[in-house]
Amino acid sequence: MKRVMLTSVMLLAVTAMVGPFYWLVVGATHSSAEVFGSPPPLLPGGHLLDNLAHLQETVGFGRTILNSLLISGLYTVLAGAVCALAGYGFAVYDFRGKEALFGLLMLGLVIPGQVTLVPLFKMMMAWGWLNTYQAIILPNLALPFGVFLMRQTMSAMPRELLAAGRADGCGELRLFVRVALPPMRPALAALAIYLFLYQWNDFVWPLIALRTTDAYTIPLAIASQTGATDTDYGAILAGTAVAAIPMAVLFLFLQRHFVSGLLAGAVKE
């Protein structure tokens, strides 16, 4: 009896959490008029392609998706490399200034990112980098949380293994790539998911640095659709579905890495 009650209450909670997501799919496949019909639609309709075509007309949504994929993909690879290299450096070596430099990087965890928005905008303007990929990718490559996570993980690396490699005449970089990285694969996957999700969903900095529609990422493109007098909500929901559903599908396939990546994010403060 208790079991049935507990499970029912939890299923109710899950319905509240999955319900809006399900209805996103429903809304994305209906026209704006149908979305706000009475009664509202509860099953998917056949309007998805029209909605996406509308987005293509107004913001060039195909280009938007490409921008988001390229920015998030490049960011994940580069930030992953920067964080893994630094994490390894801090974890396995002893050198002068180590703790001071690490402390400096960790300062980034406590200072809100919004403090840097105005100066970063002025920098990007001066360099002519507004509306470019590098304006979005470069500023957050040295993610303090990523360096922290990589240092944590790599600290568990047995030093004898590295010593053995050195005795075999292996160079430091080769040692990192061949000996240190392979066992770190799960942690790297978790970091990669965290980085990709972070960049895919990031809004305020792209909103400031990307000012023309051909440079927009998905969150910018869909947010830019609101506020007009003839707002097309079917199109907005279709764009929102494009932003949200790929992440949900990725989650289904990579659940284990997602869980550790997202929970690792919990140590960032």
């Binding site: 290299l85 840097t116 100066p119 490559l141 929102t240 997602f258």
Partner: protein, 283 residues
Amino acid sequence: MTLRARALAPYLFILPAVALFATFKLYPIVWSFLLSLFRTEGTVQSFAGPANYARLVNDALFWTALGNTGVILVVQVPIMLILAGALALAFDSALLRLRSVVRLGFFLPIVTGPVAYGLLFAVLLNPQSGLVNWLIGVDVPWLSDKFWARIALGLALTWHYVGYNAMIFLSRLQSLPRDQYDAAAVDGAGTWRSFWHVTLPGLRPVVLLTVVMSTIGTLQLFDEPYVLTRGGPDNALLTLGLYLYENGFRYFDFGYASAIAYALAVVIALLGVVQFRVLRDKT
């Protein structure tokens, strides 16, 4: 490899991170403070000392933004964390069935970005013809009324973050040593007493963690109020982040925007220290 080259190796490993961090974080942080001491008029900047900060203290909208953030902190965050705790306890219970379905339910909102779920909630909560008003059969003026707009924001935030916090609570619950529960049971403690004396004290570190994380997140809130109502109606959802954005990137008053940014950093630091003290002392 020579010894010299090996001594250099650690610096080369950390060089990209340190150089990027110095260029795109440290330098802007310092520059932002300097900017906050200048008055921006058109393209001309003149040294103004603490004038921007004096203006901030007398700016009613700044206090409105801070007050709005305070309301979310005092109302939404505790409710969300208590719900998260309850969900975690239920998930941890051996009685629960359909675990993988429940877990999926927790995570779907987490992977949905703030702009996406903000827009989704704006449509669901549309006052005239949204799904929610149709379901409950009442015309609640979500998003067009000051009070209900705050409730709407709270609902959206809770939907997104409750599962995430529940998973953090859960990972702690599952690492609590079982022998303490056994000892409590031997002492004749019931479910409720062992919850009060074993589970709750054991959760304290993650309570601190989630409270601090939620506070920092709330103070920096931007995306959700931006897409829900652009801060309206009548500034009901105006946050410090939105006010900073408006001043910096609509009026291009960089000096004033930088002063707001620094005020934000100070508030976050102060609240962080207070929360850390309060929650740690009880341990």
